[in-house]
């Protein structure tokens, strides 16, 4: 019953039969810091207002109504926090033994899925800008594909070098398997 909270097979929607997930990553937490900072400030607002008006003579008459509004306000913020968390968690990049799949959740009922086959990758470039990015180890990965396919740019990924190494290794393994398997040649 509780396997849903403990099992983590990294399976995803439209995973191909026999396809193995090598790496699952999301954006670095730094991309989330601004919404968190804003929401933390907003959470403190009712308490700040209470400090300002709590000692006034008419506060006692409106106190229940004030705290009803405050609780409703917290409920709205709670939903907003987890809406942002949902968007953050559902934006994933999955590297399998056959392809790279990028899931972008743009809203409740808007999402985009992009994928590229490993054997179409021509070049991988890592871009790390600034002292903060260097210390916190996040950066952009740009993948150039063969032919007229568009390039893929993944922004603010954690440990971009490790991700690049995983993609390179997966691509090498994929090429070996394709050269050995006469059917897919």
């Amino acid at each position: 019953m509780f396997d849903i909270f403990t099992a983590s097979e990294h399976s995803f929607e439209k995973q191909l039969p026999g396809e193995t997930t090598i790496l699952l990553t999301r954006k670095h937490w730094i991309s989330f810091y601004f919404p968190i900072a804003v929401i933390v400030i907003l959470v403190l607002l009712p308490f700040i207002i209470y400090v300002l008006i709590g000692s006034l003579s008419w506060y006692g008459a409106i106190s229940p109504f004030y705290w009803f509004l405050a609780i409703t306000y917290f409920l709205v913020l709670w939903n907003l926090i987890f809406y942002n968390i949902m968007i953050f968690v559902l934006n994933t990049i999955v590297v399998t033994d056959r392809r790279i799949v990028e899931n972008r959740q743009l809203g409740f009922f808007r999402h985009a899925v992009s994928e590229m086959a490993l054997n179409r990758i021509q070049d991988i470039t890592i871009n790390v800008f600034g002292v903060v990015a260097e210390f916190l180890k996040f950066g952009d990965i740009e993948i150039q594909t063969a032919g007229e396919d568009k390039n893929f740019i993944f922004r603010q990924l954690p440990n971009p070098r490790a991700i690049k190494d995983a993609i390179v290794a997966a691509k090498a393994q994929n090429l070996r398997e394709m050269s050995v398997d006469p059917v897919s040649g």
Binding site: I4, F5, P64, F65, L75, F82, M86, V89, H111
Partner: protein, 77 residues
Amino acid sequence: MFTLFVVIILFVATIAYLWFTFAIVYHLIRFGIGSRPKMIALVFLIGSFILFVAAAISFVATASKLGSFISGSIPNF
């Protein structure tokens, strides 16, 4: 009249809360990869339920007091 207004507000707020909560939990469970989204959905659901119950209780307690206040403030012509 005031009671009807309170009931309508409560109904609309409940529908909005249920829809928003369902949408977030559905997306995390359905599209989340791994166990972390499921844990996040559980934490969200528990916190949302607690806050909603607290808001509903405080609303009912406040509405009766507010209704008496408004009734007392309206001049009797």
